[in-house]
Structures are given as structure tokens and as C-alpha cells.
């Protein structure tokens, strides 16, 4: 199992969980907000309609007072038998009232309909608008017991400068006549009609016809620049007398439900989103903490497992080493104990050789040679075993290589049929090495060369010194070896011989490695084998100093 992949997968799962929590909580917040907004909006619309209806009613009630006023004018005119002079005098003052009518007129019903008297601004021409209103008022008399009031649409006065609104009233107590009053309309000026409470919360426009028509605007609260009103608006018709109804269009100046209520959806949304963010953060933190804890636990478990494995391996290694050490100790002590008997046998064989020489006997001679060869082999095996078991560091001294080669050849003389060719430098040649170790290497190489040529042959031992690198070569004319054999040659317990434990070349390699040197083999099957040992230029400090002195002398 790969831990990296597991961690990544877990991280992705955590991210998904956080996202899910965020989406759910945020979704709830948005849903709640939208729901609340819908409720608030419904309430707002309902309130707007209610207010608008109230305003329309108020407007109607305002014009109820207009009807009362017109009724009292008609009653006064009836008392004076519709005397034009009395009418003008009675009503002159009324036209001076601020915000009042500009003209009040008495009209005799026709045909033709004509002006009888006028108070205030003179009306020179009755005109079709006025006449129509008067006729409509007269026509509506049947429906109204107290009198019929009809308002004209807005129309231009003289010169088209003023916008005017007229009211025609027909009173039963003044048969054959109608009272007509006229007022200038200034939509931008606050009129008593729109000053009432219902209008205070509204932006409203009142049209003198039952539709939105700019030239019929009677009154507007607030600036008239934003007319016609758009957005959330409500409209109501207001019946003014018996004529066509007026239209009131309104929208709320500020939220009718109150600013708190209108802010509620946003508050819910924001609180919800905040809660979503907090919940996500909490989930994320907890998840990460859990993930971290899991990871730490996993790591610890893995480390523990690794430690246990290491411990087991170390224990096994220790047991193996102890066993090897015990075996090595045993082999070492056996080897030492064998050296004395081997020495005595060797001496005895030497004495026997002397005895046999006095009475030559070919068979005895051959038997002696066999015994000598076997003692030599046993000697080398014991030495290898001791060297292998001991594993000591080399003790470096100045070793006379020529002398060492001579000694080895004396200790291990060539068997019958084998010729030794020594190629040594004429002068003394010394190298820095552990003498016993180097001796062991040469014994092994020489012994191997002898054994490689059971049918006889030639061994060449060559020593040379090339730029302070000592090169020792031992070559035979035996069967040679294959690449496979060469590859495994220096491994312990590898042997191609029927006899031997396969330690010789392993010991040689270890010794030469300990001297920082090299041991190589050059061989082809059927062409013999050559082992080459090269030792680096090790020098004793004393010698080095001498060399430096001589070098200094040469420079001087």
C-alpha cells in the first residue's frame, strides 16, 4: 500500500464533506431568506394596496366637501331666484379664498346652455368641456337625490397657459340652472386633497381620467419628474361625483412593513451564510485534526513495525554472528593446535628424506613426496582458516619481497614435474606490508598454481617495482578457468578443487584489500592463469623524511 495515495484520498473526502456542509447550510440560509422575502413582499404589496385604497377613499371624501360647497351655492342662488347680480356678489368672496375656485358661474340649462352670472375670473366662453360637464350633471340628476356633481377632465384655459378643472353641479332646488366652478390646477403644489395622512407614506399621482395620462395629472406628491410611476405600484379609482372616476397611482415612499421587516431577509441570508462558513470551518478543522491524528497514528504504526522488523533482523544477525564467532573461535583454536603436530610431522618427513637418501628407494621417495605435499596443503589450509577467523588489521613493516618469495618457495617447494621460474629484480626490493599476511597470500597463490597443474608444468613468479607500486605475479600453465569461475573466485567457500574449503583466495583478497592494493586474475580456458597483486606505494614516515631530504638536496 502506498501511504501517499491514501492520504490524498482522505484529503479529498474531507474537502467534499466540508463543501457539502457549506452547501446545505448556505442553501438553508438562501431558502429561508427567499421565503421571508416572499412573505415580506406579499405583506408590502398588501399594505400598499390598502394604503392606496385608503388614499382613494380620502380623495373621494375630499370631493364630498366640494359637493357640499356647491350645494350651498346652489341653495343661495335659489333663494335669490337666480338673480345674476346677487349670485356674483354672493360668490365673489369665495373666489378670493386661497386654494379656492378661480371662477364660480351660474349656468342656465339650454338649449342653448348659457352663462347667467360669473364670480371671480370671468368666463367669456362656456366651451364644449364646460357645457358637456353641465349636461352630464343635469343628466345624472335622477340618480342623486341631493344633487349631481360632475368633474370635467383637465382642459386648457385661455391662451393655453392654465390647466383647469371644472365642476358642474345640478341642484334640484334650482331647476333649470346649474352651478359651475373652476379651479387652476398646479400638480406640483401640495393641495389639501393630498395633504392627508394616507398620502404621507406614498408617492402618488392623481389623474382626472381613469387612466394614466400625463396632461390629466391633477396632483402629485413628491417630485413630478419621476412620473409615470414604475416598479411596485398600486392603483385605485376614486369616484368624484357622478362623472368619470379619477385614477390614483401610488408607490410606497419607504417600506410599509417597516425597515426592520424589509431588512429581515438580508439579515437571514447573511446570518445563514455566516453560519455556513463557521460550520464549514469547524468541520474542516475537525476533519483535518482527525486526518492528522490518523496519519500520525499510521506513521507511528509503520515506524513501530519497521522497528520491530529491524530488531528481529538485528537479533537474527546477532545470533548468526555469535554462532559464526563461536565456530571461528573453535576453528582458530583447532588450527593453532594443529600447527605443532604439523610441524613435528614436517620435521620427521625431513629426517626420513635424509634417511631415504642414504638408501635410494623410488617407491619410498614417491611416498615421501606425497606426504610432504599433503603436509604443505594442510599447512596452507590451517593458515587460511586462522587468517579468515582472525580478521585482524595489517601490521605494516618494511618487508623484503625478494626474501619473502625465497622463503615461500622454500616452505612450499614445487612438486615433481613442476618447474619454477623466478624473475626477481637484481637488487633488494622492499614494500610496506604485513609480512605474515603477504606470506599467506604468496603461499596460497603458489599452492593454487601447483594444484592447477597435476600433470606438471611451469610456474612463473615475477616481482617488479613500477614507480613505487610493487607488482607480484604468479602464473601457471594449467587448465585456466571460465568467466563464471573467475566471477566467483574470491568469494569465501568457493572452490573448484576436490580438496580444500575455498578460503584461500577469499583470504588473499581480504588481505590485499586491507593493504589498499588490488588482486586480479587473467585467464582463458586452456591458457593457464595469472594472478597479479599490486601494492600501493606505502611508506614509513622515517623513509618519507629521508626521501624528502634527498629531494631537497637534489633541488639545492
Amino acid at each position: 500500500m502506498c501511504p501517499e495515495v491514501a492520504v490524498t484520498a482522505r484529503t479529498r473526502r474531507v474537502r467534499f464533506l466540508s463543501l457539502a456542509v457549506f452547501l446545505v447550510v448556505a442553501g438553508l440560509a438562501v431558502g429561508g431568506s427567499l421565503g421571508t422575502r416572499q412573505v415580506v413582499s406579499d405583506q408590502e404589496r398588501k399594505l400598499l394596496h390598502q394604503r392606496t385604497d385608503e388614499a382613494a377613499l380620502y380623495l373621494s371624501s375630499v370631493f364630498g366637501s366640494v359637493q357640499g360647497e356647491m350645494s350651498s351655492i346652489a341653495a343661495t342662488a335659489a333663494l335669490s331666484k337666480a338673480d345674476p347680480k346677487a349670485f356674483a356678489a354672493d360668490n365673489f368672496l369665495l373666489t378670493k379664498v386661497p386654494q379656492g375656485f378661480t371662477s364660480i358661474a351660474l349656468v342656465r340649462l339650454g338649449p342653448p346652455t348659457e352663462l347667467v352670472a360669473t364670480a371671480g375670473t370671468p368666463i367669456t366662453d362656456l366651451g364644449s368641456v364646460r357645457t358637456t360637464a353641465v349636461n352630464q350633471a343635469y343628466a345624472a340628476r335622477a340618480k342623486a337625490l341631493t344633487g349631481a356633481l360632475v368633474a370635467t377632465p383637465l382642459f386648457d384655459g385661455t391662451g393655453g397657459k392654465d390647466r383647469r378643472l371644472g365642476f358642474a353641479y345640478y341642484a334640484p332646488q334650482l331647476p333649470g340652472y346649474a352651478v359651475y366652478a373652476e379651479a387652476r390646477v398646479q400638480p406640483s403644489v401640495q393641495s389639501p386633497a393630498t395633504a392627508g395622512q394616507p398620502f404621507s407614506e406614498l408617492i402618488a399621482a392623481v389623474y382626472a381620467v381613469p387612466r394614466v395620462q400625463a396632461d390629466q395629472l391633477i396632483a402629485a406628491t413628491g417630485s413630478s419628474g419621476h412620473l409615470p410611476l414604475r416598479g411596485h405600484i398600486a392603483s385605485a379609482k376614486s369616484q368624484v361625483g357622478q362623472g368619470p372616476s379619477w385614477l390614483l397611482v401610488a408607490k410606497a415612499r419607504r417600506p410599509l412593513v417597516g425597515s426592520v421587516a424589509s431588512f429581515t431577509p438580508w439579515a437571514i441570508l447573511m446570518a445563514g451564510l455566516l453560519a455556513a462558513a463557521l460550520a464549514t470551518a469547524v468541520v474542516e478543522v475537525l476533519s483535518r485534526r482527525r486526518e492528522y491524528a490518523t496519519q500520525v497514528a499510521d506513521d507511528r504504526t509503520r515506524e513501530l513495525q519497521q522497528s520491530l522488523e529491524d530488531l528481529a533482523a538485528a537479533h537474527e544477525q546477532l545470533v548468526r554472528q555469535e554462532r559464526l564467532a563461536a565456530i571461528g573461535e573453535l576453528a582458530s583454536s583447532i588450527g593453532h593446535e594443529l600447527r605443532n603436530p604439523l610441524g613435528v610431522i614436517s620435521n620427521a618427513l625431513y629426517l626420513l628424506r635424509g634417511d631415504v637418501a642414504k638408501r635410494p628407494d623410488a617407491a619410498a621417495d614417491r611416498h615421501l613426496a606425497t606426504a610432504e605435499r599433503e603436509v604443505s596443503a594442510a599447512t596452507v589450509i590451517v593458515a587460511d582458516l586462522l587468517e579468515f577467523a582472525r580478521q585482524r588489521d595489517p601490521v605494516i613493516t618494511d618487508v623484503d619481497i625478494t626474501g619473502l618469495v625465497d622463503e615461500v618457495l622454500t616452505v612450499l617447494p614445487p612438486p615433481a614435474g613442476i618447474e619454477v621460474d623466478r624473475q626477481l629484480p637484481s637488487g633488494p626490493l622492499s614494500a610496506l606490508a604485513d609480512r605474515d599476511m603477504l606470506r599467506q597470500v604468496l603461499l596460497n597463490l603458489l599452492g593454487n598454481a601447483y594444484q592447477a597443474m597435476p600433470e606438471g608444468g611451469r610456474v612463473s613468479v615475477e616481482v617488479s617495482d613500477e614507480r613505487n607500486v610493487v607488482r607480484i605475479s604468479v602464473a601457471d600453465t594449467g587448465a585456466g578457468m571460465t568467466q563464471d569461475v573467475k566471477d566467483s573466485l574470491f568469494q569465501p567457500f568457493f572452490t573448484t578443487k576436490a580438496r580444500g574449503i575455498g578460503l584461500g583466495l577469499a583470504v588473499c583478497k581480504r588481505i590485499i584489500d586491507a593493504h589498499s592494493g588490488r588482486i586480479e586474475v587473467d585467464s582463458t580456458p586452456g591458457q593457464g592463469a595469472e594472478f597479479i597483486v599490486t601494492l600501493p606505494a606505502l611508506r614509513l614516515p622515517q623513509q618519507q623524511a629521508t626521501d624528502e631530504e634527498s629531494a631537497a638536496e637534489v633541488q639545492a
Binding site: P341, L342, S346, N347, L351
Partner: protein, 118 residues
């Protein structure tokens, strides 16, 4: 006049065979089988060369070399064991040679002849 050789070893077989080998090579051989006897012989006698085992009961070969005093006859030490510290001491004391058992008889004879000539 034949050279006098003191041969010291606690191993009877070694003592016997080496004694024969040295005698047949023409040396006059005196044997000792432990370090104490060897020390007495060296101090009291007049030997041209001493061939001595290292590891022996009582005094070992190296102790004998150390205690024999100056100027001792040339000493050839024989060892079956590689007790490095003892051999270093012996080398420092200036023994003529140290040979590893088992050795070829001609090699020892060569060393003895060399020591006698010195």
C-alpha cells in the same frame, strides 16, 4: 669447532625431531623443555644461537629473551600462535627471526646458519 645451539620447546616431538635435524646439520644441540631451564642455560652457558618456542609453561620465549640480559646470543623464535603483542615485544628486543610453525626444515637451517655467521 661446531656451533652450540640451545633448542627450547615444551613439545617433546618437536624437541626430538628438531634436535635430530640440527645435529645432522653439524650443530651441537642442547635441549631445554621450559623457559626457566632455558634462561639458566643462556645465562650460564655459551651458545652461538638459541632456537626457542614462544608459548611454554612458566616463562614464555619472549620473557626469556627479555630477561637473558645483554648481550644475548641471537635468538630464533618459533610460534604456532599469533600473539601479536608478544611478537612485537620480541621484535623490539631484536630477536634474529620469528618463524611460523610449521616450517620447512631447510628454512630453519638457513636462518640458524645466518645467525651463527652473524
Amino acid at each position: 669447532m661446531s656451533a652450540q645451539v640451545l633448542l627450547v620447546d615444551d613439545e617433546p616431538g618437536m624437541l626430538e625431531t628438531l634436535s635430530d635435524i640440527l645435529s645432522s646439520a653439524g650443530y651441537v644441540v642442547t635441549t631445554a623443555n621450559d623457559g626457566n631451564r632455558a634462561l639458566e642455560e643462556i645465562v650460564g652457558g655459551n651458545y652461538d644461537v638459541v632456537v626457542m618456542d614462544v608459548r611454554m609453561p612458566g616463562r614464555d620465549g619472549v620473557s626469556v629473551v627479555i630477561e637473558s640480559g645483554a648481550p644475548p646470543p641471537p635468538v630464533i623464535l618459533m610460534t604456532a600462535y599469533a600473539v601479536e603483542e608478544r611478537l612485537h615485544i620480541a621484535r623490539a628486543e631484536g630477536v634474529h627471526a620469528i618463524v611460523q610453525k610449521p616450517f620447512a626444515a631447510p628454512y630453519l637451517l638457513g636462518l640458524v646458519a645466518e645467525a651463527v655467521a652473524a
